[in-house]
Amino acid sequence: MGKFPPSLRGAKLPFNTLMEKSPSQRPPQTSSEKPPYWVTSKKNPKRKPTKIPSEIVPQMPSIPFNSSTLSEAKSLFNQLISTQKKTPFDLKFCNSVLQSFSSTATLQDSIFFLNHMIKTHPSFSPDSSTYNVLLVQACKAQEFSISSVHQVLNYMSSQGFTPNKVSTDVAVRTLCSCGREEDAIELVKNLSGKNLIPDSYTYNFLVRQLVKNRELSTVNSFIKEMREGFDVKPDLVTYTIMIDNVCNRKNLREATRLLGILSEEGYKPDCYVYNTLMKGHCMLNQSGEVLDVYKKMKEEGVEPDLVTYNTLIYGLSKSGRVKEAKKFLGVMAETGHFPDAVTYTSLMNGMCREGDALGALALLGEMEAKGCSPNSCTYNTLLHGLCKARLLDKGIELYKVMQECDMKLETGSYGTFVRALCRHGRVAEAYEVFDYAVESKSLTDVAAYSTLESTLKWLKKAREQGLAV
């Protein structure tokens, strides 16, 4: 019973898995991988230009460029125009031809090829999307400088398309997706020097990439340089992103510092900042503190949302204050928030921690009665709790339900379940659970087998000492 890691895992995993099911939940609690909602939602209209190249991709097979030689490409293109007179020869098609060629050829050749296309096919007038194809290719090229990116940008201006914020965004995103964050920083600085200041989306995107993948000092110096050099200031979203990531790295001191700066700059923390903070406390095993954050929120007059309550209940459950957590179910009902699977699972987790697995099982009934359907995470939490509380028979019943619903097992609950089965001398059933875990792709073969093997090893030892069946 005293094993700490599995129970801890049992608490964490449910949370993450649950999040995916409810997009509205995302912003404060998701791990660093997912962008906070505000960026994604506002981003969409803006991202359109970026997407154009990828939309073209499906058309690619129709224009095979086997060789990267310019002359062959030119002749192939000539052939295409002469033979395919009937088919619509529009911008999108030309873009895809260019994309297909540039993915195999050098940038210089691609530019020549584009010139050739314009010359031989006068009705084709390239627009910014065409240049973005080139831009993306230039960013993808594995080089150690951004000269090729500048080359495309210069070419664009020479053709009468002044690079704008969209081009910056396209370039920064492509560079970051290739892991060239340093180049992205350099590009943004260069462009800012030419009066092309990135908008808040590009800026926040880059900051998020940096906090995720680089040292904190890199981020701070980037922010400092942008502020001092080009008067680009981080906004509330930037701070939220940073606090979130800093909390993920368990660096509470930096989080507190950021919070100080935030209020110095005159921003009033909103619901999301508070949610992020609460989540941070949960991550740092200071779950008890969530209540303080909640009180502060109330004092400041910030209206808590569902995520706030979920984080609060999660934190309280995790720190063993299930009674208080349960009270908030009532508060939620008063304020018109409906508890969802996350809420209930957190509570069940807390109850299981206290050893009240039967109570948690009863909560499952209550939850279903209220029309809230449990997910695989709920079941995993319960399975884990039941096995820990030595209620193996109930656990097996639950497992059968999970099997019927094709639910995946999580590492923690799988391990606990296998151990419980072996402890009761039901090795054959443990083997079947192993089979299910592998079949349902819940775990990798290796992970599932290692657990089984070490459990059996432990069983053998226990038997030798006359402990287990």
């Binding site: 895992r9 090795v427 054959a428 089979d435 093997e453 059996l456 069983l459």
Partner: protein
């Protein structure tokens, strides 16, 4: 997805995982059973376990026991009955630690 603790173990000790998944040249007895000349310890375990299931070799009264047929006996130390719990250990015997 590997569990966190296992990730730690693997980064600390890559040998442990490689023992499990590296392909190994099989001894002649095992080669006959598997029909392969190379396999990993994990692959071998899965093959033996599915062989037991396919041929219904589990004891009907006690599923934890396996009544070995001739083929299985040859690779499991000649025992006529083995416990399922012993299976990983018995298979491990065919995969001695490699000295480098």
């Amino acid at each position: 997805m590997l569990p966190q603790r296992m990730k730690q173990v693997i980064t600390d000790n890559p040998k442990k995982l490689s023992d499990l998944i590296d392909l190994v040249n099989l001894p002649s007895t095992l080669r006959e059973f598997m029909g392969l000349s190379q396999t990993s310890r994990l692959g071998c375990f899965k093959r033996v376990w599915s062989y037991i299931k396919e041929n219904n070799l589990q004891d009907p009264n006690n599923k934890n026991l396996v009544n070995c047929d001739e083929k299985l006996k040859r690779i499991l130390l000649g025992k006529s009955q083995v416990e399922l719990a012993e299976l990983p250990m018995l298979i491990k015997l065919h995969f001695p630690k490699q000295q480098k």
